[in-house]
Point group: C2
Chain length 245, copies 2
């Protein structure tokens, strides 16, 4: 028995996310499982590091599966990339210890949210960015964001319809930077609740636009009330950048 | 009479280029002209800084047109971006002197060619990069590229089926850089022959792969023989970055 670890890049635009309850919609996980089945002639379930929502992208999602096949790693990677649709690519294939579990072994994950902040809508990266023409006060956003660092109950930033029992998570890093017209919000945490990044970014944007007063992010966090935290920003600006083990 | 200058961003994937002889294929120029016509109720021809081939992108193509309309610039930009398809965006609208001509007034243009240089094919930027899994000797490419700097007859790098009378051009800058898996080849010249960037990049790749010996780029240039210069790389990796006036 071998344990195979896959690093997966995907454009989430045409998928119902990594994994989905409703079985009729195409997901990234299913698509990869079908490709493995075709190559190894064996029905296999892969384990992802976590779900990504519909329309969310990944530069480096991690998944693993166990197999008795002795196929060489390089051959498996080439075969997968030949069989998979062109919006999913396997960028790395490794053999790992049998105790490696993509989800449970993960120490932290890093998501990046990208805002295109200029007067006119995008043509080149329209499925990768959230277009926002309003000026944003980045310094204030950076200052306010500090309230989220560390171990907190993130119930205020959790999707209302998909609550988890335990909404305590630890944000290890939160960086807001600008490169020309692009604003990047990078968040590293030990785990994420449903829509947590998109809800945090929604609140940060309200702050950056001056629609939430200074000090409000801490208050929203402490309120544990989703209704106070502002809108959920669109999925297309979000990308899973890295999973740390 | 006013002279209006447009800065245009486009994803060239679904277009037959900026302008095209065969009138039945959709071009970027026509698409913009139709949008202007719809807004200004006037049949207008726009002048581009130059043609881009089918599948080539632009971060900042320049075009201009003359009109008697007194429409405010901001209103025109908003209306254009509302009417244009989502793979074309007008990022700037300015009023310029009546003698401004997008093509004849241009001092130089900058193109960027992007190579994805890693083992596995892309999923996220598949329409924006040329995927090349082979190792490339960047230092050798940089050294060889120096032969192209300055004023030369670039006949060796000109498309065989679309020759221009005068194939003398001046390359002002040629920079080859790497950022992680991406290799960027940026070329600034006073003008470009058909396929010139894509043919230069094709030759540079042959050098980087060790398939052309050292000193060969100068020999190819001096030979004025297209057949010696290697393959034409795909359009999807090419983007018009800037037009200098």
């Amino acid at each position: 028995m071998r344990n195979i670890k896959l690093t997966v890049e995907y454009d989430g635009t045409n998928y119902a996310g990594w994994q989905c309850q409703k079985s009729k919609i195409k997901t990234v996980q299913e698509t990869i499982e079908k490709a493995i089945q075709r190559i190894l002639q064996d029905k296999i379930k892969i384990i992802g590091s976590g779900r990504t929502d519909a329309g969310v992208h990944a530069q480096a999602q991690i998944a693993n599966f166990k197999t008795d096949s002795s196929i060489p790693l390089e051959k498996l990677q080439k075969a997968l990339n030949a069989v998979l649709p062109d919006d999913i690519a396997i960028t790395k294939v490794e053999e790992v210890g049998l105790d490696f579990h993509s989800r449970f072994s993960a120490k932290s994950k890093v998501y990046r949210y990208t805002i295109l902040n200029r007067a006119s809508r995008p043509a080149l990266l329209k499925d990768r960015v959230y277009f926002l023409p309003h000026p944003l006060n980045l310094k204030l956003m950076q200052k306010e964001a500090k309230a989220l660092l560390g171990r907190h109950n993130f119930q205020s930033f959790q999707a209302q319809d998909k609550k988890e029992k335990d909404s305590i998570r630890t944000i290890k890093n939160l960086k807001i930077s600008r490169n020309r017209d692009f604003i990047y919000i990078d968040i590293e945490a030990d785990g994420f609740l449903y829509n947590m990044v998109r809800n945090i970014v929604g609140a940060l944007i309200e702050i950056g636009r001056g629609r939430f007063p200074e000090g409000s992010l801490r208050k929203i966090l402490e309120s544990r009330n989703r209704k106070l935290a502002g809108p959920t920003v669109p999925a297309r600006g979000l990308s899973l950048i890295k999973v740390n083990y």
